[in-house]
Amino acid sequence: MKLQTKFNLGIVVVFVVLAASIGALSIHYVNTNTIREAKDRVSIYTRAAWEIHDGKIAQIEAALEVLARTQTVKEALQPSGDGRELLQVREELERVRQEQEMDVLNLLAPDGTVLLRTRYPYATGDNLADDPIVQQVIAEQENSTGNIILSRDRLDVAGEGLMERVLAIGQVPQGMFAGAAVPVVQDGEMVGILQMGTLLNGAVEEVDRIRDAVFANETYNGKPVGTATIFMGDLRISTNVLDNQGRRAVGTRVSDEVAEQVLEDGEPWTGRAYVVDTWYLSQYDPIRDPNGDIIGMLYVGELEQRYLDLRRQAVVMFLSVVLGGMLVAFLTFYFLTRGVVRPIRKLSHATHLLSEGELAYRVDVERSDELGELASSFNKMAERLGEQRREIEQNQRRLKELNDELRTTNRNYMEMLGFVSHELKNPLSSAMMSLHTVKDGYLGEVTDAQEKSLDSVARSLDYFQEMIKNYLDLSRLEKGELEAHRQSVHLRSQVVEPVLEGLSKSLEERNMEVVDNLPDDLEVYADSDLLRVVYDNLLSNAIKYGDEGGIVELDGHLEDDRVTLSVYNEGQGIPPEQMPRLFKKFSRLDSPEHAKEKGTGLGLFICREIIEEHGGRIWADSEEGEWVRFSFTLPDQSRRSNNA
């Protein structure tokens, strides 16, 4: 992985972790805050709704107090008065009721008996002393206000149209009134009671006022931001919550959970409420009558969606700020690290080039910090390496020149050696001819002493001959003229026998016997000329170093693709410590037994070169003081059939 990628990945990981933590924290913070705020606000809204509702009732009370002080009302209550006064005051009161947009306005006797009603059919004579509001006025002789439930029979006499309004909502034959009652006092004595109220069932004015005052009648995404409802028991009787058809959703009921907590336990309920088709943050407060009995609920709700969206906006804004900050931080970090990574990358590239031998390349980093130092050190190092390489190359050239010179010298030397050796053959030939002519007695009897001396000369000449032969072979080898022209060769007749023929005299002199174990039909794929050189050397050695009167054994066998041939003789053998240099050029065995037999130290080297030219291997086994066996292999024998 690239350094820059690692840095980037590291910072991204750090930032992601940071962002996740900050995001989670902020979302948690926003959530807790908005929810708490929403609850607080709903609670405030509910109090405001109560204020409005109670204000309405207070307004009724105030209107009644004014009426109770009027002379007309007091006169109408005079015990002496006849029906005319009552009729007059009824018209007056009915006008007031309509001005106040109230549903009922009654004048009662101090015991609660209805003296007059301002609503058709103006029924009178029934007693309202058990009405909780009226009951309090009778008992305390003071103003009383509140919300009450009117049963069916009360509604029937209360006035025309009320029962119909009640029944229009949920078919429940009772109504919920908000109202007040005040005593009418004459000379310190209560002479009557004025009672006024408004039927809440199906009324819209009050809930709409709550909505408008608290929520300014705003809408959000086509839905009202806030709604208010008055429940009679669990029944919606006055609301501005709209149903699916856009009508006010009166006649529907509240959930069991809310009903239980509010209506039965008398506790306010706060929380999310699913109203008709959407969620509202809501509060339900119990409505009690003056006796303290729970008769209904006041509900205020605020559209939750607005909060959710506000919350989302807050979160989005918060996260945008966080992410924006991180982006800025990341970019800053990126450019900072790039400033570090780029020179490193340049150095890495330069090192790569250097490792591939591009010593002339220099890093271009101009900085005053550690990286700059590194780059300058690198350049110095490359400079030094370049110098060293030039030096090495120069030395190599010089070595090569020297080597070529040496090779030329060697070649010249070998050519001269070959030429000289060849030139020596002619005098050697005539010398040997003359010597042997004398020694063999062709020119007359030879004495023992003479023969001994002549033998010594003959041995020298033999050595001389062998030397010439080897030097000629060596000269060919060193000139690179040795090349095996392989063909199918019958080993015994074409190689071994001609060689033995040349060595027969020596064998006879040493009284040695050759045991030929070679298979009669053994044919090898080799250069017969070179192979004869090998056998000539190995057999000459065997005769020269073998035990006088001992045997020399020839073996050979073909196995798979390879023929293995060997020459064995009884004799002193070869000490193990001398084995390693046996086949080296100019190596001679140091042993007293061999002292009188001089060798050129070339024979085995030539053998090895010839065998290796054939792709084979030559080696020696020996038991010191007992025997020695030279073996060699010739591979690729199967090619014989293809090339023969």
């Binding site: 060849h422 053959k425 002619n426 005098p427 050697l428 030939s429 005539s430 010398a431 040997m432 001819m433 003359s434 042997h436 002519t437 063999d440 062709y442 020119l443 001959q465 000629l472 072979d473 060919r476 074409q494 001609p498 005299k505 017969s528 000329d529 004869r532």
Partner: protein, 135 residues
């Protein structure tokens, strides 16, 4: 002096070798004539009509025909074509002729091939064999 066995012409540019071979051959009863250059050898052979010719391959000195050429010329000569020739050579390796070169009527119309240096016994045996084969 042993009984006369026959006449041999020796052609070789090496005076010492000619002398030693002559000494050996005369010691066993041959009459020997010698020449030191190839053309001279050819002329000498025509003149003496020997029983056998010993012929060197390479000749030092001024340019002239070598032993092979002379042997081929002899083979075509009316007088000499039946005279056996033994080729003496010290140059086999140098010429890369190979060991197995056997006398061949066209290329090398000779009866035997002897590698120098040669010992007296080997030379005499070869001469005896060639002469015997001639009948």
């Amino acid at each position: 002096m042993p009984e006369k066995k026959g006449t041999i012409v020796v052609v070789d540019d090496d005076v010492q070798l000619v002398e030693s071979v002559t000494t050996l051959l005369e010691s066993v009863g041959y009459e020997v004539f010698s020449a030191y250059r190839a053309e001279k050898g050819f002329d000498l052979a025509k003149e003496k009509q020997p029983d056998l010719i010993l012929l060197d391959v390479m000749f030092a000195g001024p340019p002239g025909p070598d032993g092979f050429e002379i042997s081929r010329r002899m083979n075509k000569d009316e007088v000499l074509k039946d005279t056996p020739v033994i080729m003496l050579s010290g140059v086999k390796k140098v010429l890369e002729l190979g060991y197995d070169v056997t006398p061949d009527d066209d290329f090398m119309p000779v009866e035997a091939f002897i590698d120098k240096p040669v010992k007296p016994e080997k030379l005499l045996t070869t001469i005896d064999e060639v002469l015997e084969a001639q009948g």
